[in-house]
């Protein structure tokens, strides 16, 4: 079984589980399918020799962010009749809009693509390993790294402030 076949199977499984995120009616099923999608994307990262990013994707996305979504779902305790229904017209419009977006992007990227039939394989110098990425992150991209920590502090304070229970309800 060649690497090419493995990546084609992984890609189709990724698209299928991403479709199930949108199509499934229950939000908890959507979360589970999204976690599965993230695992498939991590597998594709490993195929492309970006091992550290694959692990980070699994820990941060599938681990932390999706658990946050599950916690909120359990906190809200939704039931069947609270699920807002979608009209048929909006579904048709959205599918037409999304399909048009897909077609336009595919054709645009096919026209601008000038490298012939390139293949994505592991480069000579392993760019995706921890050592290379760490050197890059703490030398060339040090200032954006520090700014992102400020962003995180702001997000944390904002989340605490927003989710705090207040006495008066603004209606």
């Amino acid at each position: 079984m060649s690497l090419q076949m493995i990546s084609v199977i992984l890609g189709s499984l990724t698209i299928a589980s991403a479709l199930m995120v949108v199509l499934s009616k229950h939000p908890i099923r959507s979360v589970i399918y999204l976690v599965i999608t993230f695992f498939f994307i991590s597998a594709m990262y490993i195929l492309m020799n970006a091992q550290f990013l694959a692990i980070v994707n699994m820990i941060v996305y599938a681990g932390a962010i999706m658990v946050l979504f599950l916690f909120v779902l359990m906190l809200l305790n939704l039931n069947k009749e609270m699920e807002p229904e979608t009209t048929r017209m909006s579904v048709i419009t959205a599918v037409i809009a999304g399909g048009t977006l897909f077609l336009v992007m595919i054709t645009a990227l096919r026209d601008t693509f000038q490298y012939g039939k390139g293949y994505v394989q592991a480069p000579v110098q392993d760019a995706g390993l921890v050592e290379q990425l760490g050197k890059l992150l703490f030398s060339k991209y040090l200032v954006p790294f520090e700014i992102s920590s400020i962003l995180f502090i702001a997000a944390m304070v904002g989340a605490v402030l927003l989710a705090k229970r207040e006495k008066q309800i603004i209606d």
Binding site: L3, Q4, S7, V8, G11, I15, A18, V21, V22, P27, S30, F38, I41, M44, M48, A50, V56, Y61, I65, L68, V72, L75, L76, M82, P84, T86, S90, T93, A94, A97, G98, L101, F102, M105, I106, R110, F113, Y115, K117, G118, Y119, V120, Q121, A122, P123, A127, G128, Q132, L133, K140, Y141, S148, L151, F152, A154, A155, G158, L162, I169, D171
Partner: protein, 107 residues
């Protein structure tokens, strides 16, 4: 033959997968009324962009794009926390997670 077996998938294939993921996320944002599923579809679109960045990073053998993926993950985490806390506050006020609820802001 051994050389052929070790070759990865073509660049076109990865571009196709990531554009398909992005379009599926866009369709989800346009169709679903549930606010939580809407946030999840935004996460899906961010991941499609990440996949494309990693693909080109590997294709050119350059690590810079993978640093950008880190920053996208950071922004996605911050966005998810803020979005979910806004959602909880909206749910406390109106007992509904329908996105149409925000139409009240029109006045």
């Amino acid at each position: 033959m051994e050389q052929l077996n070790n070759i990865g998938a073509s660049l076109d294939f990865y571009i196709f997968v990531s554009i398909a993921l992005f379009s599926i996320g866009a369709i989800g944002v346009l169709t679903r009324k549930n606010m939580i599923v809407l946030l999840m579809c935004i996460e899906l679109m961010l991941n499609a962009v990440n996949l494309l960045l990693v693909t080109f990073s590997t294709f050119f053998g350059n690590g810079d794009a993978q640093i950008f993926v880190f920053f996208i993950i950071v922004v996605a985490a911050a966005e998810a926390t803020i979005g979910l806390s806004i959602l909880i506050m909206a749910y406390r006020n109106s007992k509904s997670i329908d996105i149409e609820m925000f139409n009240k802001l029109n006045g």
